[in-house]
């Protein structure tokens, strides 16, 4: 029951120029799927006065221009669009991205801890982390940081008690059932199990973030040697992590 969306979607005012649409208060593919579906529909609808859409785990924020529309008009219009989504059950088309990762050692200083915490070998943790596909639920925390879910219960691990002051760019971490990737060097409390040479965020690109909510991500264990090769290719801008659908 707990993983279910709300019986009826909540439309809530967020100050004087935003509307928050909540679908539930849980992390679940079903709830996030509704967020992504409405996000896509509203992008296509190009509603007068809508300036920006921010999809998150379980809600969609709509920033609007109060000089061009009213809260009531917007709610009325979007409820109409939401109804059409309920009738059609078409899956949202999502991109598939493979993230190469060196696990353990200096690349993933917490891999040993995560393995010991669960009574597993490091190899088992790597296999469990890299064998499933994850949904990008949202981007937040720092520019380009993807919140991915969910890791198997066997490797879900609480955050560090004292966050590190410095986590390296590209670090792949686990926090409870979430996994994520640090786009830049930042303080952080996630358990770091590996690192990718991919650049998740570059403000000088037209699309600054590599990933977007709704994407499907898989991790691929690589060697240190391949890390260097991919890193070079990324620098030369000739590496593509996207696979054909």
């Amino acid at each position: 029951m707990k993983s279910e969306p709300y019986m009826s979607t909540r439309y809530l005012p967020f100050g004087d120029h935003a509307l928050l649409i909540e679908f539930g208060d849980v992390i679940s593919l079903k709830v996030n799927g509704k967020v992504i579906a409405l996000n896509e529909a509203l992008q296509k609808a190009e509603i007068q006065g809508v300036e920006e859409l921010v999809p998150t785990y379980r809600s969609l924020l709509i920033r609007y221009n109060p000089l061009k529309t009213t809260y009531e008009q917007l709610v009325f219009h979007i409820k109409d669009i939401e109804k059409t989504l309920k009738e059609s059950t078409t899956e949202v088309e999502s991109r598939k991205i493979t993230i190469p990762v060196v696990y353990g050692g200096e690349y993933g200083p917490d891999l040993t801890y995560v393995a010991q915490f669960h009574g597993l070998s490091e190899e088992q943790v790597v296999r469990l982390h890299s064998e499933r596909e994850y949904r990008v639920y949202m981007i937040g925390f720092v520019a380009g940081f993807p919140y991915l879910g969910e890791v198997p219960d066997e490797i879900a691990t609480p955050r560090l008690e004292t966050p590190r002051l410095k986590v390296l760019a590209g670090s792949v971490g686990i926090a409870e059932k979430q996994t994520g990737i640090y786009p830049c060097e930042a303080p952080g409390g996630w358990r770091i199990i590996g690192r990718t040479p991919l650049k998740l965020f570059n403000p000088l690109r037209q699309l600054p973030a590599l990933l977007k909510p709704g994407d499907n991500v898989k991790f691929r264990p690589i060697s240190e040697k391949e890390f260097k090769t991919v890193e070079d290719a990324v620098l030369k801008d000739v590496y593509s992590p996207f696979s054909e659908a």
Partner: protein, 316 residues
């Protein structure tokens, strides 16, 4: 074109315009001037576009030497500006000769002042804005605050023949007490009735943890019904989060774009700009307005901003 040489950077001086819009979904905050009204006015006083980049000065201003003849205006908090050691007025066009030194004294009221340069500050736009986002390390001058020996670049535009000044009755007066009008929600239903009453009836004090990301406030504890956590969702400047300890956190322009504390209310747009002038130990009082009233205020505010250029006094 080189306009100023930074002799001293000041406490925390950054390049800001009206902000970087459209990238929240990638985790990029809006950034931009904390006090947008003062930034817009500083621009109008040197006949710039409202969105041109200015220097945002925090509490202790920089010392800048002009590398060319230019015109500037200084608005916002009362920053005691001087040119060549002589006190000069704020809220009007100022002539700066090549070699002259612009400096600042004590911030007598408010927290942030804005220095516009005729033609605007020129830094490479990043994602459509020149605003500095220090935590992300981009925008402005190499994504950081000013430091000694930086060069402030500007555009080669013709200087004004006649300057402007702001009519005295329109100059905002900042005290250490702020009134913030809010719209309750989106998660006001996670608080008890007593919690909401406490929030709307007591004064909060700005703590030392107050910067461009947000202000932590001290005041009577605001009571949650049960849970004090939500599954993270989006944030915008003006949002007031209440974590488990019951003490409000006001979200400002460089804050992270998502958060996991319930938001009891969101401050209306014109008041978020005003609160850009609040500093540690200042007092804030919240009061409730309805969306329709807030939209009326926004329309008024826009009419005022649109007319402001025409209301400025031409100096003879």
């Amino acid at each position: 074109m080189k306009v100023f040489h930074v002799l001293k950077p000041g406490l925390f001086t950054t390049v800001q315009d009206l902000g970087r819009y459209g990238y929240l979904k990638y985790g990029v905050p809006i950034s931009g001037a904390m006090d947008t009204f003062s930034l817009v006015t500083a621009n109008l006083l040197v006949a710039n576009n409202s969105n041109d980049a200015c220097l945002e000065i925090t509490l202790f201003g920089p010392e800048l030497q002009a590398l060319t003849r230019t015109q500037i205006a200084i608005t916002g908090g009362v920053a005691s500006p001087k040119i060549n050691g002589q006190r000069v007025p704020m809220w009007q066009t100022l002539e700066v000769q090549e070699g002259a030194v612009v400096s600042f004294g004590k911030m007598e009221s408010g927290c942030r002042a804005y220095l516009s340069i005729r033609g605007g500050v020129d830094t490479p736009p990043v994602l459509g804005s020149r605003s500095t986002y220090v935590r992300g390390g981009f925008g402005g001058i190499n994504g950081r605050q000013l430091k000694t020996a930086d060069i402030i670049e500007g555009f080669d535009v013709s200087l004004l023949k006649v300057g402007y000044s702001m009519p005295e009755e329109l100059v905002p007066q900042f005290t250490s007490q702020f009134k913030a009008r809010v719209i309750l929600g989106p998660q006001a239903d996670m608080f008890t009735e007593r919690g909401i009453t406490t929030f709307l009836s007591s004064q909060c004090r700005v703590t030392l943890e107050a910067d461009r990301m947000g202000y932590r406030l001290e005041g009577p504890m605001i009571e949650h019904k049960a849970k004090a956590d939500i599954i993270s969702d989006a944030l915008l400047p003006g949002a007031v989060q209440i974590p488990r300890n019951g003490k409000p956190i006001m979200i400002m322009r460089d804050a992270q774009t998502t958060g996991g504390y319930p938001k009891i209310a969101v401050i209306i747009t014109p008041d978020v700009s005003l609160l850009g002038q609040a500093k540690p130990n200042d007092l804030i009082e919240f009061s409730e307005v309805k969306i329709q009233q807030a939209h009326e205020k926004i329309r008024e505010y826009h009419r005022f901003l649109n007319n402001l250029g025409r209301m400025l006094i031409k100096k003879s």
